[in-house]
């Protein structure tokens, strides 16, 4: 036991739901009070475990949306119609409920202000979540590295963190946010409407010569397409980090 404690063994811990925020019709943020939370890095995730009355357990990974600097832990979860865990988290969970968590997990898909070079973030739908933690952390520590988010959503209504992203981009803090809406667009939409590809990234991403650090998160096929496009444009594969969430976690 002592050995495990010294090494910071990953144990399941309990977090109490203190607030629930509906971000879009299918996405909800869960704000948790986790006693003795060891702190996390922007981009990390936690595993959430649910146990049914008959003892059946299901667990899934969810990205942390809050910055390390925030007082409370925020997970942002997208509802998957045939999921085992997300319907409970998005539709059933109430303030005061307690969740079992394991984490924080991950040391690969993480960013902090010690990383030099522009921050290039590419998100597909709920892939925004770990990237939002990076943008929130960047703001909290007043990093001077330029940041640019290229964010693909199906419609304007489905843009997660829409208002906060608008505020980040409007402030003169070196953050740019570029949306593409792939399914439906508002009548006066001036932005992009296609899927993210090499042509769009050529127009919108930092040039390879500026040595940006790219973080791509979204469904697997989205991440692979965006990653391939960056490499095609001459970006160093070693500076491209990806997080594929597959059919989504559930």
């Amino acid at each position: 036991m002592a050995r495990a404690a010294v090494l910071g063994r990953l144990n399941w811990r309990l977090g109490e739901v203190v607030e629930l925020i509906d971000e879009t019709p299918r996405v909800r943020s869960i704000v948790l009070d986790v006693p003795e939370w060891p702190g996390h890095r922007a981009g990390q995730h936690v595993d959430v475990r649910l146990t049914a009355e008959d003892g059946y357990q299901a667990q899934r990974s969810y990205s942390i949306a809050s910055a390390p600097d925030d007082e409370r832990l925020m997970l942002t979860v997208e509802l998957l119609a045939d999921g085992e865990v997300s319907p409970y988290l998005v539709e059933e969970l109430r303030a005061g409920d307690v969740l079992e968590l394991r984490g924080p997990i991950g040391g690969f898909f993480v960013w902090d202000a010690s990383v030099t070079g522009p921050l290039l973030l590419i998100a597909g739908s709920s892939g925004i979540v770990p990237l939002m933690a990076m943008l929130r952390h960047r703001a909290a520590v007043a990093s001077r590295e330029a940041a640019r988010l290229i964010y693909s959503s199906r419609s304007w209504q489905e843009v997660i963190f829409r208002d906060e992203l608008g505020e980040l981009a409007a402030g003169s803090e070196g953050v740019e946010v570029i949306h593409t809406l792939t399914r439906t667009q508002p009548p006066d939409w001036q932005g992009f409407s296609g899927r993210i590809d090499a042509q769009m990234l050529k127009e919108t991403a930092f040039a390879p010569g500026t040595m940006p650090n790219a973080y791509i998160c979204g469904p697997t096929s989205f991440v692979e397409a965006a990653g391939r496009a960056l490499v095609l444009l001459g970006h160093d594969p070693k500076r491209i980090k990806t997080e594929r969430f597959g059919p989504t976690g559930g």
Partner: protein, 90 residues
């Protein structure tokens, strides 16, 4: 959903590997004994829906590691996995 969408990153294995190895494992490097490719666990390809969790080489698709959990035990099947390089730091 196409078959490609069943793949996730090694990041998704960070929890279970962390329980076994007691260290942050997504940045641990692993070497494929099939092709010699070396990547962090977080950059390998992982299939969570398989019976057990399967890690495949992101270069040659060889099965490197299969982890199953049952009856309170972990079973780690090392296949095309030459070595694991784990940071002992915090």
């Amino acid at each position: 959903m196409d078959a490609e969408d069943l793949v996730v990153d090694g990041n998704a294995m960070g929890g279970v590997l962390g329980e076994v190895f007691l260290h942050e494992m997504t940045s641990a490097r692993v070497c494929c004994s099939g092709c010699g490719g070396i990547e962090p666990v977080g950059a390998e390809r992982v299939y969570m829906q398989a019976p057990g969790i399967v890690m495949r080489c992101s270069h040659c698709e060889a099965v490197m590691l299969v982890v199953t959990q049952r009856d309170g035990r972990y079973l780690l099947g090392f296949q095309q996995l030459q070595w694991i390089d784990i940071s002992a730091g915090p």
